[in-house]
């Protein structure tokens, strides 16, 4: 797989805003970002209210995903270009989620909203209405998704890549530094995990680093290319960004995203937790 199969540039995107069969989708947690100005013609998906089950902690089921994409006017034949704020965290999460339900023609806009805005490219507030479709999804491809028991089993066996900040990894903070620190679960990380913050994979403008730079970053951190891999963070969106770098850009074959992540693992009774930098002295 080449980079062009999974990423598009802001320049390419601006030239293809009206290309038939290409649908731009903004994915944010904060949907007011979209309402304040979006890429012309883009529809929005709300990370929380549209992709998560409203009651249980899980995703909307296959039927729910079909209804959502049909209502958004996305068809099975469309190429979906995802972008969003937070350095594309939620767009990368949606990318992984689209792949999970079998939509292969999906790409990320490299750099997301940040790159688009820093370039001074156009945003508008025009309402976007697309004709509804009859979208059909596949069953979830669980080769991409890790659950808690296999994470516990992976300790010391697979690459566990903790993509949170070093202070969250060591147990000093429970959440990223732009959020209040009010969570109740235990701090720390999964034993044997390496810490490669998601941000290492991104340039300052939000675009992904080159494959050569990425390979060096993960290699230096102790990533073993011969092993299977599970990436996690706090709730599974930053780790989608790293899943994208490892699986889609670097082409590592067996990489799963653990969407339960630290908010699940750090609340489990009886599982091992490690504190500190995790590096052996």
């Amino acid at each position: 797989m080449s980079r062009e199969d999974v990423l598009v540039s802001a320049a390419w995107s601006e030239e293809n805003l009206n290309t038939p069969g290409v649908v731009f989708v903004e994915v944010d947690e904060d949907i007011s970002a979209y309402d304040g100005g979006h890429i012309p013609g883009a529809v929005k998906i709300d990370w929380k209210n549209e992709l998560q089950d409203p009651v249980r902690r899980d995703f909307v089921d296959r039927e729910g995903f079909e209804k959502l994409l049909s209502a958004k006017g996305i068809s099975n034949d469309d190429t979906v270009i995802l972008y969003g704020g937070n350095n594309n965290w939620f767009a990368a999460y949606a990318y992984w989620y689209f792949k999970l339900y079998g939509h292969d023609a999906v790409k990320l806009l490299d750099g997301g909203r940040k790159k688009w805005e820093l370039d001074g490219r156009p945003l508008d507030k025009e309402p976007v209405v697309r004709e509804t479709t009859a979208y059909t999804a596949q069953e979830q491809n669980l080769a991409l998704r890790a659950f808690r028991d296999e994470v516990v089993d992976a300790i010391g066996q697979k690459n566990l890549v903790d993509v949170r900040s070093p202070d969250e990894f060591s147990g000093k903070l429970l959440a990223p530094a732009h959020l209040p620190q009010e969570q109740a679960q235990r701090a720390g990380h999964i034993p044997s995990a390496i810490n490669v913050p998601w941000s290492k994979a991104a340039n300052e403008d939000g675009t992904f680093k080159s494959n050569e730079e990425l390979a060096e970053i993960y290699g230096e951190a102790g990533f073993d290319g011969s092993r299977k891999t599970i990436a996690y963070c706090r709730i599974g969106e930053r780790s989608s960004h790293t899943w994208f770098a490892l699986h889609e850009l670097l082409g590592h074959e067996d990489v799963k995203n653990y969407d339960g992540s630290w908010t699940e693992y750090g609340s489990l009774v009886g599982v091992p937790v490690e504190l500190g930098s995790g590096k052996e002295a």
Partner: protein
């Protein structure tokens, strides 16, 4: 999920917990406050820690830990950065000029 990773609204009054280290201030240019800037918190080694978008009035806020921090702002009109030394809990003001 009520505990997403998106930043809370910037620039509103917040209750600061007794042990919280809050770094807060405005992004400015010669023309006044700069809203919509990407404000990045870098630790003492220059490593990225967090990022928020400044409010319409240029406000930003981080929940950090004691230490020396760099706050770097990116905007289509220009970039800039400032350093702040937070010795302990409390609110530590900092202003960042972009040009």
């Amino acid at each position: 999920m009520s505990n997403g990773c998106g930043a809370p609204e910037q620039g509103v009054e917040v209750q600061v917990g007794a042990n919280e280290v809050v770094l807060t201030g405005k992004v400015r240019s010669e023309g006044g406050p700069v809203g919509g800037a990407f404000v990045r918190l870098l630790d003492a080694s220059g490593e990225f820690t967090a990022e928020v978008v400044s409010s319409a009035e240029g406000d930003f806020r981080f929940y950090a830990a004691p230490g020396t921090w760099t706050i770097r702002a990116l905007h289509r009109s220009g970039n800039g950065q400032a350093s702040v030394n937070a010795e302990g809990p409390g609110v530590h003001p900092v202003e960042v000029a972009v040009a």
